[in-house]
């Protein structure tokens, strides 16, 4: 009887030992499996990280391609209009400075710079005889000339990446008081970027020489723009323009010459 109990206990012990060994084996396997998971996760993480670096590079390249394309288009417009020189580039640079001074995020949006550079793209459809006419334009001629913002908007309409740039092109001749063209928008109906542009455009026009008049100094140009505050220009934009020092515009003008 006692012998039988001892034998039974021994068998039971042996069975428990085997069970323990099995469990240990299973646990070891689970740990090894977990390590494989950790290793694979690590490799996936590294691949994802490399991919996001590639993606950022691609996005940067794409942005540079956009900019190059916009510049090419802008240069094509400029090439026709000999005396304005690098007007579009200067206006874009002035406009960005004024945009920065407004304190918003406008200046960091590349579409805004695209819009500034392309504002006159619609002039490709204006006949030479009108574009270069030294005398004042007739009513019909002016109608044709004043169509260029809409023409520009239509030329660019299928280019998705331009986004808000197209609104700048369309509305760059609007006036704060509603007397501009092509849509006669007033006040805040005019896209903000176009309102900023209007001041930059006038600044460049006044401080560049023309066949019929010499370039104006900064003091005089500022007086004229201040006089247009609330009529031609958004008063907030003029206020922002006023805090940008002369030296900033003068430096940009030298750099872009």
């Amino acid at each position: 009887m006692a012998q039988q109990t001892v034998d039974e206990l021994a068998r039971e012990l042996e069975r428990l030992r085997e069970q323990l060994a099995e469990h240990e084996q299973a646990a070891t396997l689970q740990k090894e499996q977990l390590e494989r998971y950790a290793a694979d996760l690590r490799e996936t993480f590294k691949q994802e990280r490399a991919r996001s670096v590639q993606l950022a590079d691609s996005a940067k390249q794409l942005q540079e391609s956009y900019m190059a394309t916009v510049r090419a288009l802008s240069n094509a417009v400029e090439a026709r209009d000999a005396y304005t020189g690098k007007h579009a580039e200067r206006v874009a640079a002035y406009g960005l400075e004024i945009a920065r001074a407004t304190g918003g995020t406008l200046a960091s949006d590349p579409q805004i710079e695209f819009g500034f550079l392309l504002h006159d793209v619609g002039k490709v459809a204006v006949p030479d005889a009108i574009l270069y006419k030294p005398e004042p334009l007739s009513h019909e001629e002016r109608m044709l000339m004043e169509r260029h913002p809409v023409t520009g908007f239509e030329i660019l309409s299928d280019i998705d990446f331009l986004g808000a740039a197209k609104d700048v092109v369309r509305s760059h001749h609007e006036r704060w008081d509603g007397n501009g063209y092509p849509d006669g928008l007033a006040g805040e109906e005019i896209p903000f970027a176009a309102r900023v542009f209007a001041a930059a455009d006038t600044l460049d026009a006044l401080t560049s020489s023309r066949p019929y008049r010499p370039a104006m100094g900064m003091d005089d140009a500022r007086k004229i723009i201040a006089a247009g505050s609330g009529s031609q220009f958004d008063p907030d934009v003029v206020a922002a323009f006023n805090v940008v020092p002369d030296e900033v515009f003068e430096r940009l003008s030298r750099e872009i010459a």
Partner: protein, 120 residues
Amino acid sequence: MSSIVLIVDDDPFIRKLISTTLEDVSGFQLIEAEDGDVALDLAAEQPPSLVFLDIDMPRMNGIETCRRLRELPGAREATIVMLTAAGVEQESEARAAGSDLFLTKPFSPLALLRLVDGLQ
């Protein structure tokens, strides 16, 4: 000179798991310690940038180890991440001892990876 990540846990499997997760991810050198004393010796020789520190360890616990690590000139600036299976009641104690972050076991391996990656 490559930066050092020190992994301190009395459970060899947890150390292995952490080092497997982080191995060669960011050019860090991974070193392991099985208790607080070894951790302090290693940290004195090779000042770590990042320490993963288990709270529940025999002899010197993680909170005491953390306090002493902070007394070492080389580990004063290290990011110390406490690992624990316990609830949040130890968190304020761990913070008082100079730890920066608190991860509860089972910790997220992705959180470990992001931590190490972010230290670059």
